[in-house]
Symmetry: C2
Subunit: 197 residues, 2 copies
């Protein structure tokens, strides 16, 4: 007995990850309680994001202009490339404020069972960027899970003959974390990666 336009909106909102029927209903009623121009503005932002964003042909990041602001920024260190799985990982790296080099977004991780091989992942583009000779270090920042590790290992092997330094971001205890509550694998990696002080 829910009116059709409301039902439709609830169903559309349910597509979002982590949004179930109850949350979707709450969101739909929120939209109905706000002025029409807010609904229009959200609707425009949704379609606008789809229409105005593309992937940078050099690094694969999300951008309005191609090549992207990272690739064209002359103040960035062009000798270092940080390899990440997704565009959102790039924004996470940027938020640290500690990285001033270039990026390379793979758009996934190796996963043979899902039919994702190196050709599906912009890995050939990375090899091409390295072979142009300007790059001195590749920092691999793929996720610390099976696919991410496999991808990191693959890229490291690929880079060996190209005479480029390959590093992997460190794994260990999260800052502010508690030794007691760390899982065994993380603590093992923290021990393995110990540094002189």
């Amino acid at each position: 007995m829910i009116p059709q336009p409301l039902q439709q909106l609830i169903e559309e909102l349910c597509r979002f990850p982590g949004v179930g029927p109850k949350t979707a209903q709450r969101m739909a009623f929120f939209i109905l309680s706000r002025p029409r121009k807010e609904a229009v503005s959200l609707a425009r932002a949704l379609v606008g994001a789809k229409d105005n964003l593309r992937f940078c042909t050099l690094c694969g990041s999300l951008t309005e202009a191609d090549p992207c602001a990272y690739c064209t920024d002359s103040r960035r260190d062009r000798h270092t490339i940080c390899v990440v799985q997704e565009a959102r990982d790039l924004f996470a790296m940027e938020r640290t404020g500690q990285y001033r080099g270039l990026y390379h977004v793979l758009h996934g991780a190796l996963s043979p069972l899902d039919g994702v091989g190196p050709e599906e992942l912009r890995i050939p583009d990375l090899a091409k960027r390295i072979s142009e000779g300007q790059v001195k270090e590749i920092i691999i920042a793929t996720n610390p899970n099976v696919e991410g590790e496999a991808t990191a290992a693959y890229i490291a092997r690929l880079c060996k003959p190209l005479k480029v330094k390959v590093t992997r971001i460190a794994f260990g205890l999260p800052v502010g974390g508690d030794l007691e509550y760390a899982d065994d694998l993380t603590l093992g990696r923290a021990l393995e990666g110990r540094q002189d002080m």
Copy 2:
């Protein structure tokens, strides 16, 4: 350094209740990962819900046609009116499948501190519906909190001289709940509302 159309979308999504910047970013990336037509379809549903839904002039429920499907349904019991605070409460009542009467949506609850008095609440409309003489019972289903209780008490007092039976939905232990974990007030109300068996 987040591209403007993406930033815009994240900000728009942040308006939703319970959606913070992290969730909004996750939702935005989800939209970007899906075909354009899905973004368009969500955008249409948002504006469509605003444009095609209005409040029924009789009962105040959300509807496409005025009067609404509840008010015009001849199979419903026209002698009973269930009073709820919001349109979403009406849908909750309907989901029980146990109520076949009419509704009256107040669009809020009495809250003198916020300047919400009976005139702001469609209470005069309720009095008018009762005075037409067909109604025999008013079931008050406002929320079990200070404002909801005050509103219930006000409506009960209003209905007294109009010779109509006024009932309040029961408060007590939620079905499947645990006596041990019930709060004192709820348990008190459950005791007070005990029934012969």
